[in-house]
């Protein structure tokens, strides 16, 4: 064993098959001590499988070489991986919500085969030392459930350090953080890196990958595409490496749309959610709405569709003032709402593709007797599957069996079936692969061209900049800026949103 190994982790010739499916083929992956590395790729490219092999959850096919800190490992188990200093922080963090900060951080010290008496007090000095090393202050006795996500992540990191981690994997760590929280996380990662702890980010958020890491390993369909320095890499190029598609990131805005208004909101407010919001969407116009998480965007959408009641202000639809008491009213008046939470609000996951498509339009598939007509239902389902090119096996399959991109097309289908005049898209590409996103936006653009008004809400500044005719920025419940993609650059918009 060498004293100062060149690699903290080195993998070669790793393959893994599940039944007949090749999850990984001949992949190698190396991380230097103290390096901040990114493992990037679309959903299903093999990122998770690779981590699970490194941490001993899966056994790779014969021929794989695994070397940790200069030591050849024949057979890795989860316990051995942890002992060798490899730690994974999964997206859900795997913390215990009702236990205190100190208990969570020292958790791995107290579990074992034999039961033993646990005195958290004895661990507190060590826990304090680790938090000090990270330059953070925290109340050790506070239960985890009372902490914001960003703080919980720090607890998870501290827990990994408690086990003397040399290499920490972080699975999509920033997906639920605001920019300032992300910045704090970055500072901590920087600190770890200076201490010689390597950090591997697993992410498909392109901007982030480029901002935080020095090297990026790209996987695609279980193959290694390559290892690239992030310097000089652009988002577009990285997306192309991940998808093998040539992506055109062009501003699609149409200048000077001069049609009648569909939606006019004036001074709309709802206590503690948003204040004095005024906005106007014309026929065929795509209006982007961005801002940090918690800025009040989804809350505004909920008030527009009648899920909540605004405290003051007016909503006019097609020139007529409306006052919805339920989402059904909104649907009847021609508003469609694509929720950001496709898993629990957008679709009824266990039910069939066909049933999901017709949930919004039951009245249109009845016979003259008032019964559901199987024939009308089938016609409608087939029409939308074809129209939106949804890739499915049978329309009777559960919608949960589809990929994120295809599920989102089913969501679009069920709303388009209502023939809306205004469509509200709330983070429409959450959990949708980069390659499939373009397809979704092509559909959205063509809907606008047919005269539909569209409110595109998104966290991703790039998404609204490239796909909207104009962009509104929301901060702390107020719309305070309008951005014109044709006149200003995406960087300008970024600096405004993240200011």
């Amino acid at each position: 064993m060498t004293t100062d190994p060149e690699w903290v982790l080195s993998l070669e010739n790793v393959s893994k098959n599940f039944g007949g499916v090749k999850a990984l083929t001949d992949v190698s992956f190396r991380v230097k001590p103290g390096e901040v590395h990114c493992l990037a790729g679309e959903n299903g490219c093999g990122k998770s499988t690779l981590i699970k092999i490194i941490t001993g959850v899966y056994t790779p096919s014969p021929g794989a070489k695994l070397n940790i800190l200069g030591k050849e490992i024949e057979h890795i188990t989860p316990a051995l991986a942890r002992e060798m200093g490899i730690s994974v922080i999964w997206q859900d963090l795997a913390l215990f919500p009702h236990m205190s900060v100190a208990e969570n951080i020292s958790f791995d010290e107290v579990v074992g085969f034999w039961p033993k008496l646990v005195r958290t007090e004895t661990f507190k000095p060590k826990v304090e030392a680790i938090l000090k090393r990270l330059n953070v202050e925290m109340d050790l006795d506070e239960p985890i459930k009372d902490l914001p996500i960003a703080q919980r992540q720090i607890v998870a990191i501290a827990r990994a350090l408690m086990g003397n981690a040399k290499l920490i994997f972080m699975d999509e760590p920033t997906s639920s953080l605001t920019q300032s929280e992300t910045n704090m996380l970055m500072r901590i990662v920087q600190k770890l890196s200076e201490d010689g702890v390597a950090v591997v980010f697993v992410s498909h958020r392109l901007a982030e990958v480029l901002a935080i890491s020095s090297q990026v390993t790209v996987l695609r369909d279980g193959y290694l595409v390559g290892v690239f320095p992030t310097e000089g890499m652009t988002q577009t190029k990285l997306a192309e490496l991940m998808t093998n598609l040539t992506l055109v990131n062009e501003v699609t805005a149409t200048p000077d749309i001069d049609t009648e208004s569909i939606l006019e909101i004036e001074n709309l407010s709802r206590e503690n959610e948003f204040q004095n919001v005024s906005l106007n969407i014309k026929k065929g116009e795509i209006v982007g709405l961005t801002g940090l998480i918690g800025a009040g965007r989804t809350e505004l959408a909920h008030a527009l569709i009648g899920m909540t009641k605004p405290t003051s202000g007016t909503i006019k639809l097609g020139g007529k003032e409306v006052n919805f008491s339920s989402i059904r009213d909104a649907i009847l008046e021609g508003i469609a709402y694509v929720s950001e939470d496709r898993l629990s609000l957008g679709l009824i996951q266990p039910q069939s593709i066909a049933d999901n498509i017709v949930t919004t339009v039951l009245n249109r598939i009845l016979t003259f007797m008032g019964f559901v007509s199987t024939k009308k239902k089938e016609t409608m389902v087939n029409y939308w599957i074809k129209e939106l090119a949804i890739r499915i096996g049978e329309s009777s399959d559960a919608v949960s069996t589809l990929s994120g991109g295809n599920q989102q097309r089913v969501v679009l289908a069920k709303w388009l079936a209502t023939e809306p005049q205004l469509m509200i898209l709330d983070n429409p590409t959450v959990g949708v692969d980069v390659g499939a996103r373009a397809g979704i936006f092509r559909i959205v653009k063509s809907l606008a061209e047919q005269g539909m008004g569209i409110l595109l809400i998104s966290d991703e500044v790039h998404e609204v900049h490239f796909n909207s005719d104009r962009v509104l920025v929301m901060t702390n419940g107020e719309i305070n800026l309008e951005h014109n993609p044709l006149e200003h650059s995406v960087e300008q918009l970024e600096s405004i949103v993240y200011a």
Partner: protein, 331 residues
């Protein structure tokens, strides 16, 4: 031959097909063990016994499909029966006319519907768990019934009431005719009405259904109201079969209705299940109990066999699923 079996199985669903096969197996076994099984007398006695349990099971079905449960079915039925009995007694007991009976039936159905409506409103608008709501309703109805009857039996009805419970039309027992009509109506409601569609969607995900514009509150209210109406029908049938009403009568059937639903392949978490397999499951339970009875087994033993049987079905389902997954993976 294999193709034919495959076709039938595809047509009616694997689950139903398996249940029918098992039913046939039971028929063959019992008729070979005792010559009294396959007789007109036994078949007709089964057809008289099944409907009360059957209608109560259907009353349990829709709440379970919507992800809930209705624990108040038996006492709702009792109270409905009590309403009918009271009306008949007011109109002269054994001398009551057909008109009083019709009024009584309407009142009984209304009482059932009202009990269901209250539960439905509570479930829909307060978001309270259906188990708690229906449990509270069950205790209320039971207490109310026992208070009104002082725990005693009420009897003394006109003779024609008995014909509904014991008579036949074209050789088919009248209770069986009623059950068949109810089951058919239930099947149509679940499979081809907006309400039925909404029941399944709500059972899988209430919030997503609301976001899709399904009137979830109205649907939940209706589910329990309809369930109450079915309890009313069961209660009327019980009056005419036993010629008396006692609060608590049929209490043991409550859990059997749940059992029959799960045996018929209803997803305990809601969202999936059909009327047809549940009806077959009911027939299986009836055949088991009548067959064992003819073989001289104790009635309590046949209850035990029902329980064992359900455990067996769970194990078989698990094994079949494992096997199917294994085969799918090998492909």
């Amino acid at each position: 031959m294999r193709q034919i079996v495959q076709n039938i199985s595809d047509q009616i669903g694997k689950e139903t097909f398996a249940l029918i096969c098992f039913l046939a197996f039971l028929f063959l076994t019992f008729s070979s063990l005792t010559p009294r099984f396959l007789t007109a007398a036994n078949l007709s006695s089964m057809a008289f016994q099944l409907p009360v349990l059957g209608i109560l099971t259907l009353a349990m079905l829709a709440p379970i499909l919507s992800g809930g449960l209705n624990l108040a079915i038996i006492f709702t039925a009792n109270l409905s029966g009590l309403t009918l009995a009271w009306t008949l007694l007011q109109a002269g007991g054994p001398d009551a006319g057909i008109f009083a009976f019709v009024i009584g039936v309407a009142a009984a159905l209304a009482v059932g519907a009202a009990a269901g409506l209250v539960m439905g409103l509570a479930v829909a608008y307060t978001g309270a768990h259906p188990i708690l709501v229906s449990l509270a309703m069950m205790i209320f109805l039971r207490g109310l019934g026992e208070f009104l009857t002082r725990g005693g039996d009420i009897s003394g009805f006109p003779e024609f009431v008995g014909t509904i419970g014991h008579g036949s039309l074209f050789l088919i027992p009248i209770p069986m005719i009623i059950f068949t009509l109810v089951a058919l109506a239930w099947h149509i409601m679940l499979v081809s009405t907006k309400h039925g569609f909404s029941v399944y969607m709500i059972g899988s995900n209430l919030n997503a259904s609301e976001y899709s514009g399904i009137p979830t509150k109205k649907t939940l209210t209706l589910i329990y109201t309809f369930s109450g109406v079915l309890c009313g029908i069961a209660g009327i049938l019980m009056v005419s079969r036993f010629n008396s009403v006692r609060v608590g009568h049929g209490e043991a059937l409550l859990l059997v209705t749940v059992l029959a639903c799960f045996l018929g392949g209803i997803d305990p978490f809601g969202g999936f299940g059909k009327v047809m397999p549940v009806v077959i499951a009911l027939i299986i339970l009836q055949v088991l109990s009548s067959g064992l009875n003819l073989l001289g087994a104790n009635q309590h033993l046949s209850t035990a066999v029902w329980g064992l049987f359900l455990i067996l079905v769970m194990v078989i389902r698990h094994v079949v699923n494992q096997l199917r997954n294994y085969l799918a993976r090998r492909e």
